[in-house]
Assembly symmetry: C2
Homo-oligomer: 201 residues x 2
DNA sequence: AGGTGATGTTACCGGTCGGTAACATCGTCA
DNA sequence: TGACGATGTTACCGACCGGTAACATCACCT
């Protein structure tokens, strides 16, 4: 028998190749870290040839850019899904977001906030990926401030910053603390407390 | 003139070589990330030869272990320094810790919590460095719980977890948010709020 | 049918990684 | 003085990194 049979050549058009590469990059960059994953691993996971990658993307950095954009879209999808449940009650919307975040971050496959991970992976604050991260966080703080204002907080900026710290804390703690610690179980109640305290005159 | 003059051979004994290597590793691993720094960069920073490293340390992993131990010692030094200022007032001690943390994390050279960074750099929870990190955090939560108890909190475990989340949040936010955001300025007040709320009947 | 452009495959480039062998050179102590 | 052990220096190993050239093969359109 022929033990050296080559696998059949499979041909995929450029668009599907690009999509599969992006899917593979999203999976691997998030799970293993963008700097720990080589392009060879990406194309293997995507089931395409390395040249297919470099014909669709100019470089690994370009792939990283697209990865960040995907993560950004996904993140705001999470936010919108939580907030839409309470369109006329900003305080409830905030509480909902923390409940949903605690749920997501408690998943065993959760590997933390992709943006926090990027910030750790790239030491230079001027790196384009770090700039992207800072921009995402800036928009998040803005959204939190807007919600805190609508909720009627005495000092909306202060409440928003406190909640932003809690959010980052949930991200980091999901990776630093052992799962048995169940630190995230305290997230919703702590957020509720901050929100409630911000309403009192 | 002789433009190819070799630098003079400098000889240092094993102990000072080991110390300089550890210092260099601590600086570089923290600033750039342990996986982003090669042993060549470490020996260059230390001003010693690569063989001097491998005669003192069995591997880069061994160096990483020593690095983690150093950071652990340093961390508990910070904790003790804050707590010692209020030996008979646990609530004040907690508040002091957050004030000092906000100060440290606001330093421009601050590169976040070394343990958070390790957790991001190494994807596998079973990796020895991740286990070390989880152990440090477990001890921190224990210390916080003990202080919350001494402070007279109604639910010490809940307060400790909330504060632990805030701490991790300060670490992560120091790297994700742009400095202009001054998110850390909200840290002490938020911690104070949580502590005060935990005391009320 | 023939040609043309997109895709797949292989092999390779220079650079960096962690780690080591071999040898030169030094200080120290008998 | 001579020998021995510790240190410094150089060169190298195989593996992986991001990226590319050259060529084989296919689909599709005229």
């Amino acid at each position: 028998m022929n033990t050296t049979a080559k696998p059949p050549r499979t041909i995929v058009d450029a668009d599907t190749a690009a999509a599969r590469i992006l899917d593979a990059a999203e999976t691997l960059f998030y799970r293993e870290g963008s700097r720990n994953v080589g392009v060879d691993a990406v194309v293997k996971e995507a089931g395409v040839n390395k040249m297919s990658l470099y014909r669709q993307f100019s470089s690994k950095d370009e792939l990283l850019r697209r990865y960040l954009q995907r993560r950004d879209d996904r993140f705001w999808g999470y936010v919108d899904a939580s907030l839409e449940l309470h369109p006329h009650d900003a305080a409830a919307a905030l509480r909902q977001f923390f409940a949903d975040l605690a749920e997501r971050a408690g998943n065993p496959a959760y590997r933390g906030c992709p943006f926090v991970n990027i910030a750790v992976e790239y030491p230079e604050r001027e790196h384009f990926a770090r700039v992207f991260v800072a921009d995402n966080k800036r928009q998040l703080l803005q959204k939190l401030t807007e919600l805190a204002t609508r909720a009627g907080a005495r000092d909306p900026a202060a409440l928003a910053k406190g909640l932003a710290l809690l959010i980052e804390g949930a991200y980091a703690a999901s990776q630093t603390y052992a799962p048995e610690t169940e630190l995230l179980s305290a997230l919703p109640a702590t957020a509720d407390l901050l929100i409630a305290a911000a309403m009192l005159s």
